[in-house]
């Protein structure tokens, strides 16, 4: 594979993960620790409380590579993670934020 096509591939192969979690001080650490421990970079993170504030939603933008399947299974195992949904890179949640990063 030549350099350009590799870069193109990387640009394309993104995934967005949507996590429902309990809202307390350690949850982010638990989630991102799973990625950092595997040297799996998280490209983008968004978190906000939902409903009455006992739960939060975490949005993660990650590179789609062969380990993603295993990553999702590991995230699902966390006690404070209630649900994980996987979206394509075209999900709008990060797109709308782009103007804050110009």
């Amino acid at each position: 594979m030549n350099a350009t096509s590799q870069a193109e591939n990387q640009a394309l192969a993104r995934a967005v993960l949507e996590l429902d979690v309990n809202n307390h001080a350690g949850v982010m650490s638990h989630v991102v620790g799973l990625f950092s421990r595997r040297a799996y970079n998280v490209e983008g993170i968004l978190v906000m409380p939902v409903g009455d504030g006992t739960k939060s939603r975490i949005w993660l933008l990650v590179n789609e590579d062969a380990r993603l399947e295993q990553m999702v299974k590991q995230v699902e195992k966390l006690e404070d993670v209630l649900a994980v949904r996987r979206h394509g890179a075209d999900h709008r949640v990060f797109e709308r934020l782009e103007e804050f990063f110009r």
């Binding site: 350690g26 650490s29 638990h30 421990r37 299974k73 590991q74 699902e76 195992k77 006690e79 404070d80």
Partner: protein, 560 residues
């Protein structure tokens, strides 16, 4: 919650009461400033026996020994700061071997957290990657939920360690307790999908050269009998991981013993030929598989495990079944046809005869294999066998006739030197009627030798068999084999007098080097009650063979 009359209790008293209600009768730890309220409350407990370890790592492994022997979550305790950091190795070890453990640590008062207070470390942060789950408790009320939940999590699904960090002011906070929560028990596990069971059964029925591959999950799930029954019904030669030893008696006609890095040639050769691998409660660890791409190259794979994240992690399964292995085997067995499988079993028996495990010197009690056999000859299957980490561990794994699940206590995943003595003490405390043998090396024993004091104080029925080769033997072996015989930092220039050391701690001792009849001396030492050090010099040049070089394919074994 059940109704009671309201009591005013401190967080510390609540912890102790919840442990009592949970059925905890023995736990191990070391006190210190930040956990003193809990110790003070525990001093009033007539139900809990606190075993004072001499190092928190010892306390962690004592708890592990209890949990490994019984399968029930066990508890260790430590103070904040160095107490907590000393526990980390034992917690990480429990994580890798899926041992149910509840570690309770004291923390500085909430108002001081984050100020670099005396003996403050981020115990919560440190333990995130080595626990199944962890808690930093924020109020005494929360303890009523967190403590039972810690036990539930430790025991549920794939077992593992849970840490509860409790700030000192939370321990001292008094609240009204009107009702007590239910104790924490393992969650029920969803039944496996019947269509997957049917597919797995069809694959087993169609296979010509199947092998059953048992891992530690079989022991955790209490599924050993079911696994043996399945093997017998379907005519399945059976291999075991280090963690599964004892699940099928090694002398069972279908047993091929331990697979992998130090498995017998016949075992790894049979795996190389199999057309179906039925992995049960096993995780395709690199010490078991060798080079993964070359592991069972012709085989389809059925993988049964309680942890869905294990399926397809290392090797993609043709059928992956997430579920409790006992429940799966119960459903699977009736659908599997009885099969004598004469051709394959005859072939496997031929491999066994041609390439058996070689155990030179097994009849001479002054050799490494001979000593292990001589110990076994003095004991029955009721004895429990613990090891430390090194050559002695692998020799015992190869040569001790393990026949009972939970008979075998060894640090598999983390491979922690220093595991053996405290784990053996824990097993002996949990099941005082058993004789617990700890095979150790002269390197490993020094890593937690302070626990001799605990063993003596508790009168723990442990027999420490110290196989002294005056080296860090497994390192010496690797340097000999793979580093051009450049022996460095693995040969001890000086050694303590282990007999005197043990005597100084109050242990009975036997030095087999000085005995004219080592078997008789061994028999006598093993029949004594209480802790005994049995010392035996062995030849430093002996190696664990066969050996698969790290990263090599299992079929390319060296030696043996």
């Amino acid at each position: 919650m059940e109704k009671q009359t309201t009591e005013t209790l401190t967080g510390a008293q609540i912890v102790v009461r919840l442990l009592e209600r949970q059925g905890v009768r023995t736990l191990s730890g070391i006190p210190g400033g930040a956990i003193l309220p809990i110790y003070d409350a525990m001093s009033q407990s007539t139900l809990i026996h606190h075993v004072l370890a001499r190092h928190e790592q010892g306390a962690g492994f004592i708890a592990q020994g209890m949990a490994r022997a019984t399968g029930i979550p066990a508890v260790c305790m430590a103070s904040s700061g160095p107490g907590a950091t000393n526990l980390l190795t034992a917690i990480a070890d429990a994580k890798l071997d899926s041992i149910p453990l509840v570690a309770i640590t004291g923390q500085v008062a909430r108002a001081m957290i984050g100020t670099d207070a005396f003996q403050e470390v981020d115990t919560y942060g440190l333990t995130i990657p080595i626990t199944k789950h962890n808690f930093l408790v924020n109020s005494a009320e929360e303890l009523l939920e967190v403590i039972p939940r810690a036990f539930r999590l430790a025991a549920s699904g794939r077992p593992g360690p849970v840490l509860v960090d409790i700030p000192k002011d939370v321990q001292n906070q008094a609240i009204e307790v009107a009702e007590w929560p239910a104790i924490g028990v393992a969650d029920p596990i969803p039944a496996p999908a019947p269509e997957l069971i049917a597919r797995a059964a069809a694959m087993i029925n169609e296979a010509e050269r199947p092998i059953l591959y048992l891992g530690g999950g079989v022991v955790h799930s209490g599924a050993s009998g079911l696994a043996v029954a399945l093997a017998e019904k379907a005519g399945l030669p059976t291999v075991m991981t280090l963690m599964a030893l004892g699940a099928m008696p090694v002398d069972h006609a279908l047993s091929l013993g331990m697979l992998g890095m130090h498995g017998a040639r016949c075992t790894n050769l049979a795996l190389d030929e199999c057309d179906l691998l039925i992995a049960v409660g096993a995780r395709f660890d690199d010490r078991a598989t060798g080079k993964v791409a070359a592991f069972c190259p012709q085989a389809k794979i059925i993988h049964i495990d309680i942890d869905p994240s294990e399926l397809d992690k290392i090797k993609a399964a043709h059928v992956g079944i997430a579920g409790d292995v006992a429940a799966v085997l119960k459903m699977l067995s009736p659908e599997v046809e009885s099969h004598l499988r004469k051709r394959w079993l005859t072939h496997v028996n031929g491999l066994k005869a041609a390439h058996p495990l070689r155990t030179p010197g097994i009849d001479d009690a002054r050799t490494h294999y001979g000593l292990i056999r001589a110990v076994a000859d003095c004991l029955d299957d009721e004895a429990a066998i613990a090891t430390d980490v090194g050559q002695h561990q692998m020799w015992v794994a190869q040569a001790y006739p393990l026949r009972r699940p939970r008979q075998w206590l060894t640090s598999g995943g983390l491979g922690t030197m220093g595991f053996g003595l405290p784990a053996a003490i824990g097993a002996a405390l949990a099941e005082p009627e058993r004789t617990v043998v700890c095979f150790t090396g002269d390197g490993s024993i020094l890593m937690n030798i302070q626990e001799f004091a605990t063993a003596a104080e508790e009168g723990a029925n442990v027999k420490i068999v110290l196989m002294n080769n005056a080296t860090l033997g497994l390192v010496y072996q690797q340097q000999t084999m793979f580093y051009g015989e450049r022996i460095y930092a693995s040969k001890f220039k000086g050694q303590p007098d282990f007999i005197k050391v043990a005597e100084g701690f109050g242990l009975a001792t036997v030095d087999l080097d000085k005995e004219s009849d080592p078997r008789a001396a061994l028999a006598e030492a093993l029949s004594m009650r209480g802790p005994v050090l049995i010392h035996a010099s062995i030849d430093r040049q002996q190696q664990v063979l066969p050996m698969v070089a790290p990263g090599a394919a299992n079929k390319d074994m060296i030696g043996g």
